[in-house]
Each structure stands twice: as structure tokens, then as C-alpha cells.
Symmetry: C2
Subunit: 201 residues, 2 copies
Amino acid sequence: MKKTIITISREFGSGGRTIGHLVAEKLGYPYYDKELIKTVAEKTGFDPNYVEEYGEYSPGKTLLSLLSSYTGSRGTMGGMSIYDFLYVVQRKVILEVADKGPCVIVGRCADYILKDREDALHVFIHADEAFKEERIVRLYGESEKKPAERLKEKDTKRAVNYKHFTDRNWGDARNYGLSLNSSTLGIDKCVELICEVANLD
Amino acid sequence: MKKTIITISREFGSGGRTIGHLVAEKLGYPYYDKELIKTVAEKTGFDPNYVEEYGEYSPGKTLLSLLSSYTGSRGTMGGMSIYDFLYVVQRKVILEVADKGPCVIVGRCADYILKDREDALHVFIHADEAFKEERIVRLYGESEKKPAERLKEKDTKRAVNYKHFTDRNWGDARNYGLSLNSSTLGIDKCVELICEVANLD
């Protein structure tokens, strides 16, 4: 069955976002990433930067569970923590986007949110450490933290966020139709394989 | 870089062994599965059935760690438990097989044992529950246990065995160059994709 909804989960620095862009371009499908953030920001009233930061990254291993039951000065939304509220809105936007037709969606637990759609192909992109380190320094510049530390921090937050909202392990091959190592295959080959698998009858 | 050593890890019932056979046939590489068992049996003096059972499946979640330090009536091999001893011999055989030249190896932690070889492609094959259930009943017959139970039991043992000897999580996409869902892709497409990726320059 042809897959017209493509979700891409990715390790930080693996090139997953670039791959998503290129797949969308090649298949002529709309690409959702920043657009989702904008819509979620509009629906929630949150700043887009805030949505970008906390829509995919938990505030930390121990903090997330604390904040999920947080009733302090920043308040809760209908009994929910702001993180849960953000997830609920984001989930609704992703379901609406998928209902509209073919698309490529990067990150934001979209693989889990759309797991029951038979027309969806869920992809996980990962890469070797050296490849990711070189890539983040080249694309996002140096920082006071070592590249290895930056990778670990970001992916740990993604994994904690994913576990919290899906109760699944981030990066488990069994959650994806296709998982690829972009450093051994190369970005272009990943794009080609994803398009090939998506277009199977 | 062309990959001439192909390891295939697989969920029970996913068709990983069949895929391994077909990949070996298509690439003209020797296929190691039962042959490994025979060699390990010869080197250890154990019965091949015993090697088949315990070379890949731990005796159970709690039992494995107990047995690993077991010094009871069945004795230990040079201070090791029989399970550790079996792993050490199996590891040596796998390293020797890979040194000999191109090959396809199914299961037995070969992905971990050969993780540092740049000429190796590590593949994980998984599938949806219904596909695996139908397959094991068709291929291995009925049993007093429900198919779902049989799947869970076998894969839990594989995961425990893998964790014990590698300290990695079985099925984590990041341990493989390529992970495929054989129930959505089909056996033949999996074979085709593996050969395609293995033959990349």
C-alpha cells in the first residue's frame, strides 16, 4: 500500500530534517515542521520559540514528571500542566494535518500520534557520533559545550519527552517501518530509499 | 563502502532467517546459521540442540544472571558459567567466519560481535504481530501456547540474552545500519533493499 503520510524521527545532527525536506520535495508533498510550530503557537497563544523548545524537548529527566503535575504560579490549563497542554494541542494539529492529505512531518511524536494510520510510513534516522558532531558544529556553530555533550543533551530530552507522552522507547526499530543510518548510507541514499518504500503499492 | 559481512537480527516469526537465506543466495555469499551451531558444538562438545537453544536464548530473565555465577553440580568452564562459555566460543567462531570473507550471519549477537568492522552491514528485521503469529503457526505448527505468548517468550529470551552479553537494548535502531518491517515491506522487498544497501560503494 502506498504511504502518503511520512513521519521522520531523528537523532540530533543526523540530517533527519534535511532528509525530510528532500523527501517532501521529491514526492511533491507539503513539509511540516516550522509550520506546525506556528499553528500550535496560534492555537495556544504561546510564543513560537517556546513551542519549538518545549513541544519536542522535555525540560529534563526529573523535571518533566514534576512539571506535569505542576500547579504553581504559571498555572495549569484545565488541570493539565503546560507541557501536557502543549502536547494535546500539538497532537490535534498533527492529526488535522494528516487528515488533509499527503505530507511529511518531522519530529514531535508524530510517529506515535499517527501509528494507527495504514497510509503512514514512520522513519527513524540516526548516525554515527563523528558524523553528527561534525554536522552540528558546521550547521549550528561552536558553543561552550563539547559537540558530544550537545548531542547527548538534546537526544536525552527527546527520549524523555517521547517516553513521557507515548510510553515507548525512542529509537526502538519496532516503532518504525524503516530505520536508517544516514552516516553510512549518505543523505541522498536515505531520501531515495524512503521515497522508494513510500511509493510501494 | 561495499558491505560484504551481513548480520541479520530478527524478531521471532518476522521472516528474518528466510530473508538471510535469500540475501546470501542473491549475493552468492555463504550463509551461517546451523553451520555455526555445528562448529560451536564441535568445539565445546555440547549437543547441537543444546547450542541451538542456549546460544541465542537465555534460560529466562532471572535465571540467566543466577546461572552466570553458577558453580553447582554441572560445574563451570574455567570459572565461567556454561552460558558465558558458550558465548565466548560462539563469539570466536563468528569472528573467524567473518575473517574468512563475505558472509551472511543470522542472530547470535553477531551485530555486536562484529560492530567495529567497517565492511559489515547490520540489519534488524521486525514485523507486526498478526504477520508473525500467522507465520509461526504455518511454519512451526500449533502448540498448547497461544501464538502471541510464543512470540513474547522467544523474543524476551533473545532480548535478555542480548542485554546480558552486549549491555545494549535488543531492537534499538541505532545498533543497525538498516531496520525493516517485513510485514509492511514484504520478504522480497526486504531482500532487495538489503542487497541494494550492501552493494553501495
